[in-house]
Amino acid sequence: MSPELSRRSLLLGGGALVAGATLAAAGAAAAIDQATPEPTGRRLSAAGRTQAGVARPATPQRNALHAVFAVPDTSRLQRDLAALGSAILALLDGPSQTPNPTLPDGPGDLTVHVGLGPRPLRAIDPSLPGATPMPSFARDDAIAADRRDGDLLVALASSDAGALRPALDHLLQAVPTLVPLWAEHGFRAAGEGTVARNPLGYLDGIIVPEGQDELDENVWITSGPLAGATVCVLRRLRLDRRAFTALDVPARDGVIGRHADGRPLSGGGPRTQVDLQAKTPEGEYLVPARAHARAAHPSFTGSALMLRRGYAFDRGPDPTSGVDDAGLLFVCFARDLDAFVRTQLRLDEVDDLMTYATATASGSFLVLPGFSRTRPLGSPLFT
């Protein structure tokens, strides 16, 4: 594909065009949220049509804490969510002069979003997006039961790693009945927008929805009471870096479908889309038949393009097996759960990268619509 004319460069290319498009989007009725880049560290409002930390800030904060809980008593859910939402607003959107013992340096760019897992969603209404749990994917049987399909997600992200745990502990005081299941501290390499190097050393987060229109089309639920919600999937993937890096560089590139600097094997620059059809004259795909970028391409499954904002983790050797418990906490957002499910089923069948990944925790969550002082967190679920 001609790099000049790819979708990506159309979006990133002519400055004037892009500016025009942004202005137009700001006035559009369907527009859910603004995703304009924020300077790192700048304070973000927790209130809004969507929750913070999904698409804003446009460049994900370098640190995150994803904490998953069981909800023992779903009959309290409406009250619990409202209390959690108020606590988030009080912590993040309070007047900046007020002394804040939890975050003595102020909230900075800390964001918190909250999602509900399949069980509580089913209890409210089995037809809600995300109410059906994901199927078991290849080798998922090895995931411990309490690390699958948790009930509630609190995801915090900040430039300041030290802010995460105090903020979480503070927020949990508002919902004392939640039972912690698992949590993961994650970190991202330096990057721009969603693009950053992943634990295998490859630029990741290149092909994702960008800008208002693409986010509305692929990520946000845009109509009905759940407008501003999205479906998040977490997969804690232990990666066998040693086996991967034992491959020579061309073989690694073939597993990914791109070079480490992002350039597709089908040609073009670091941001160019892969050309799935490009072949050698001998008929071989330039992006190999079992490359990850081909396997994950949404065109094969007819799915939405997911927003991927994953975090690396590293907990050192596993005490029982001695294997390094390090890898990628894969985090994605899409307007339906199917986008992930259909893609992962396909990856299990045709993706060579999956040889190097072992899921050790997994969950799907409906990230609730945005909230404010007048619109409590979770309230759209109960109308």
């Binding site: 001609s2 004319l5 889309q273 004259p281 008929g283 069948e349």
Partner: protein, 433 residues
Amino acid sequence: MRPRPRLIPTTLAVVLGAVAALSAGACSSSQGSQELVRVPADAATITDAVERVAPGGTVLVAAGTYPEQVLLSTTDVTIRGEDRNATVITGEGKRPYGIVATADGARIENLTVRETTFYGVLVTGLHDENGPSAHNGDGYTRLDPDKFPPVRRFSIDHVTAANNGLYGIYAFDAHDGVIQDSYASGSADSGFYVGQCRQCGILVTGNVAERNAVGFENANASDSVMIAGNRFSGNRVGMTLISNYQEAFTPQRANTVVGNLLADNAEPDSPAQASGSFGLGLGISGGIENALTRNRISGNPVAGVQLANTEDLAAASNAFTGNAFEGNGVDLANTSATRAPAAGNCADGTPTTSPADLLAPCPGTAAQPAAPLEGTSVPRGTSFLRVASPVAQPDMGAWTGQAAPLPARVTMPDPAGFPVPPADFLAAMSGTA
């Protein structure tokens, strides 16, 4: 080499750059007024001739080599070579296509198209004023078929397509047409391709495809598609019926496949099938309700027929009756994933199967067991530009005047008229020069 005979659908890529390259020469929208334009006597190039010809007229092309690409957008025009083997449009290994017809009623006949990087002849409703447009956007946006109504009424007859980078002869988003008595070799994707239509009304008959990655491919072309009396032998894969989410109208369904020869599809002198398939007569990936009758399916070393899923779409309710299976690695194999198990595929007679308990008698409905297929060693692909050229192909003879416009509907032949073909069916058109 990894022997994984899974069928991964492939589609064309219409690179935007290709359209840009074309538009310089084809942006005129004015229609000509000449009933008959002779090339080179009246117009130096076929492109010039197409601009001058009146709706309903004919462009008659003398023997010669024409290094051009032709966009036909005038209704009911015939482009006809005076000598099928010597009237040659060439892409010289650098231009994307030979002839693209975007107007209703196109007849393309008695000529050769060679060495294009994408496709020899394409008939499609998916285009803008400059030529064919990316049929699937960039793969991230869904195609809206309503925006691109199909082109209607076409005939591709006695056309030779050799050494083309994707497809030889190709109908996409097209209805009510015939591809007959044509020939395709050396295509890196498939020799013939019919794609994306419902109630297509398309007849594919009397054709020969050999030395292609795939001889004939159907992706999402359904209902009234009849594939009758063709020779799809000596490719890597003889033919495929595929559902493909990259295009509109999944699942593929209800073709009539009758009286074809699908033999010895293990030809090393062909480009590689990009997902590594080799040694396969017929692949059905997520296709349903196809009737496969009285075909000779023989000498395909991996499998005569392979059933597989396309994502969540199962290969289901395909009925094999009266086929002659012989000398295949296994006659019928099912490699579907458990998430979309094959169901209700049935066969009469006593074909060999993998797994052994695959089949129920016709008609069937039950879910069917699957097993991986033994691979085979796959020879490296040959460059599409280096695959051997075909033998001289039969000529239509002298032009006898402008034919009447093509009818609104193709009259489909009676399938009963197609017996199991002999092992040497259409052999006179097969072979290398």
